[in-house]
């Protein structure tokens, strides 16, 4: 056991932190919130040069060949700084390709992801908003050398900017909802696809994507016909941990900002940080962040080791969802009025906490998964 970052990770962390401070100031974050694109292509290019999109893509596909744990180190920094754009949806969309893609698919897509040429996203949710297979109604039906996709996906992150969409479809009404799910790598510019950005709390460009008779070649089927659901489960598991890492960074930033502010702001002739009511609250926020930290690190380690991780991933996500919201809510409270202004950075984190909580499954969903894993029948 050694619960410190290794040298590679320390370097990655420092590099990412320094890079983001200069390249992604909060003024840019707000500008991107208001923009149509939601990301900066120039910044995207620079990140590609640093190898971020290809961080965990093996070297044989032109990636950096880092571990999953290393990825969470990077994401802790992007969460800490707030980095708008398609980094997380692109990386998490490479998981299914890495896990289930054919050699040809890997060769076709992964090098271009690593170089920053391709933005990916995954279209999972539909009208019901459920993360379980029962919610998948978008149909894919075979037609010659192609499949035809019809239906509407929702909350597809950055779909308006994506080059390819991993679309989770129903190809069969099977014995169980999980049976009959098939994944396709769909060209986002294919005819029949239309896309509209949903206004969401963190302006993270979650889209409605309509598929009208969209043709996708059979060679773009990801994994086997009707057997795609386990690939999505694995993606959700890794995605949950990735999201937790981002949230952890966000919590760290919020706690640091709050403590610094409390030493600075004077009322009744003394810094507000001298009031014990606030001291105990800040001790509590620090504790909430720290308990989150090792839970996330443990899950990231287990995942990185290739060990079964569904339980720990869900534990981390369920816990961190609440923790991030709690920490940022109280951070605003401790700032008083100024904390509620959009112009103050602390509010940016409060919004991300809600967005992060929804991504890859909310608290109740993950608690139910934990309930199953701890043996409740």
């Amino acid at each position: 056991m050694d619960l410190t970052f290794n040298e590679t990770q320390e370097i990655l962390r420092k590099m990412a932190r320094d890079f983001l401070i200069t390249e992604c100031p909060k003024s840019l974050v707000r500008e991107l919130e208001d923009s149509e694109k939601g990301y900066s292509p120039e910044l995207w290019k620079k990140m590609a040069e640093l190898g971020w999109m290809g961080l965990i893509i093996p070297e044989e596909y032109d990636g950096m060949g880092y571990t999953f744990q290393d990825l969470t180190v990077l994401l802790e920094e992007t969460g800490r700084n707030i980095l708008p754009g398609p980094l997380v949806c692109t990386i998490t969309s490479t998981f299914p390709i890495l896990d289930a893609g054919t050699e040809n698919q890997k060769k076709e897509f992964l090098p271009k992801v690593a170089s920053g040429e391709l933005i990916l996203t995954t279209a999972l949710l539909e009208a019901e908003g459920t993360f379980s297979a029962s919610g998948i109604a978008v149909k894919a039906t075979p037609k010659g050398e192609d499949f035809v996709i019809n239906g509407t996906k929702l909350f597809v992150e950055m779909a308006h900017a994506a080059d390819y969409i991993i679309c989770v479809t129903r190809t069969k009404d099977g014995a169980s909802p999980e049976d009959g799910i098939t994944l396709f790598i769909v060209d986002a510019k294919a005819s029949g696809i239309s896309c509209e950005v949903i206004p969401t709390i963190a302006a993270d460009k979650l889209c409605e994507v309509q598929f009208k008779n969209v043709l996708v070649p059979k060679k773009n089927m990801l994994g086997e016909l009707d057997k795609g659901w386990p690939i999505i489960e694995k993606m959700l598991e890794k995605g949950a941990i990735a999201k937790c890492a981002e949230s952890l960074g966000g919590m760290q930033a919020a706690v640091e900002m709050t403590i610094a502010y409390s030493k600075d702001r004077v009322q009744y002739g003394r810094p507000i940080g001298a009031f014990q009511a606030l001291q105990h609250m800040m001790a509590d926020l620090w504790t909430t962040m720290t308990t989150s930290r090792y839970l996330v690190y443990e899950a990231a380690w287990i995942e990185s080791e290739g060990l079964p991780c569904a339980k720990e991933a869900s534990m981390a996500k369920a816990y961190v969802n609440d923790a991030y919201k709690y920490v940022t809510r109280w951070s605003i409270r401790l700032h008083g009025g100024i904390g509620t202004s959009r112009d103050h950075d602390i509010s940016l984190y409060y919004l991300r906490a809600k967005a992060a909580d929804t991504a890859f499954g909310n608290t109740d969903l993950h608690r139910e998964l934990v309930a199953q894993k701890i043996g409740l029948i």
Partner: protein, 394 residues
């Protein structure tokens, strides 16, 4: 970042588990919860049996220096604590092994170490902690019991209270005013003494559930050999602080809760209400799962603290955070477990009690962890002042 254990550690863990599992099978029915060892005879006999067994195996001294009988590492001690906690086995004296021994190793004279460490290592003696007084709790330095040097003795007078296990203990460590007129924090002495010394009177105080855990202790002209001092006269406060740093290791309590949750899951799977097992109730599933997440968070933070200790980088802040988080989780768990069992949640150890009365016992015992060993509010002060650098209270 590596949460894994070496093959050697895995083997060690299995050894600890196997022995604790065997000992758990010998546990008397009256032994319910963490503190009952002090309460009744069968439980106390059992506790002593476990202590002897661990002493014989050298497991009470795993992380001691080899010259005093150390036979392992700090991580071995953590693994042993986990096994004991998980199987609900007593026998490791929180005062003697957990607090005093590391303090003596760090700060006592060679004579004191030679005299007191071997019986602790063997599991032969039990210790109690005579610190708190009726008017000196969190503000311990304001205590008034005295130990005045006369020749080669100290003469102790005054009253101590909340003394866990004083009625079972062979020996005590305590802190007293050695110079009642002296400068605050430079007027105290830290002494070790035999509980059978004339002039010591122990009176029980009933715990919320009526059990006999702690006591009042009256000291009336109690003579203690001056050689039983730890540290310097008037500088006992330094020893108090040193010892307090060893108080907050919670891994055994966390493992005990993890085990209790497992048992509660089983209880919910087999217990029917309204025509279906409790485990089918979505609210119960949600609450139990939440607790499981929080327990895992506590466990991983305990590893963090252990990892820091292992590298001699003890962080006051992390240890305090762990103490607060794990103990409050214990309170929440007690409330949850007694809720889930419905009317049975209130039943004491008896034929009607689920899980041998453990649920009801937890409803009482949770305070052991939130209030004693520095209340959670004091721990939050530590985090705020020493960790976060916020201005100290005036």
């Amino acid at each position: 970042m590596d949460f894994g254990f070496t093959d050697e550690q895995i083997a060690r863990r299995k050894e600890f588990s196997d022995v604790c599992k065997d000992l758990a099978a010998k546990r008397p029915a009256e032994y319910v919860g963490f503190e009952s060892a002090y309460d009744n005879e069968p439980s106390w006999e059992y506790y002593k049996l476990c202590a002897k067994e661990f002493g014989k195996r050298g497991w009470l001294t795993l992380d001691w220096p080899a010259e005093y009988g150390g036979s392992g590492t700090m991580m071995d001690r953590v693994l042993f604590s986990e096994a004991r906690g998980y199987y609900g086995v007593g026998g490791v004296d929180v005062f003697g092994i957990g607090m005093l021994a590391p303090t003596l190793l760090a700060a006592a004279s060679e004579e004191v170490k030679k005299k007191f460490l071997p019986p602790i290592a063997a599991g032969d003696v039990t210790w109690c902690e005579l610190w708190s007084e009726p008017n000196a709790g969190s503000d311990l330095a304001s205590l008034t019991a005295t130990a005045i040097r006369k020749g080669d003795e100290y003469i102790m007078n005054g009253q101590k209270t909340w003394t866990t296990g004083a009625h079972r203990a062979d020996w005590a460590f305590g802190v007293f005013k050695s110079d009642p007129e002296g400068r605050p924090h430079h007027n105290l002495v830290f002494l070790l003494f035999d509980m059978k010394t004339p002039g010591i009177e122990v009176r029980p105080i009933p715990f919320t559930n009526g059990t006999h855990i702690y006591n009042e202790v009256y000291l009336d002209d109690v003579h203690v050999p001056a050689e039983n001092i730890v540290g310097q006269e008037n500088e006992g406060w330094a020893i108090v602080n040193l010892l307090a740093g060893f108080e907050r290791s919670n891994i055994d309590a966390i493992m005990a809760l993890i085990r209790q949750l497992e048992d509660l899951v089983t209880y919910c799977n087999v217990t029917k209400r309204n025509g279906q097992p409790l485990s089918k109730d979505p609210l119960i599933r949600n609450r139990l799962a939440q607790t499981a997440c929080e327990l895992e968070a506590a466990r991983t933070l305990a590893y963090r603290v252990a990892d820091l200790q292992n590298r001699n980088e003890m962080s006051l802040m992390d240890a305090s955070a762990l103490k607060v988080f794990a103990s409050e989780l214990g309170e929440r768990y007690a409330s949850l477990a007694t809720d889930v069992a419905g009317p049975y949640g209130q039943v004491k150890f008896s034929r009607w009690a689920p899980l041998n009365g453990l649920l009801e016992a937890m409803y009482h015992e949770c305070f052991v962890f939130t209030i004693s060993m520095g209340t959670n509010e004091i721990q939050k002060n530590i985090i705020a002042w020493y960790g976060l650098g916020l201005p100290r209270m005036r």
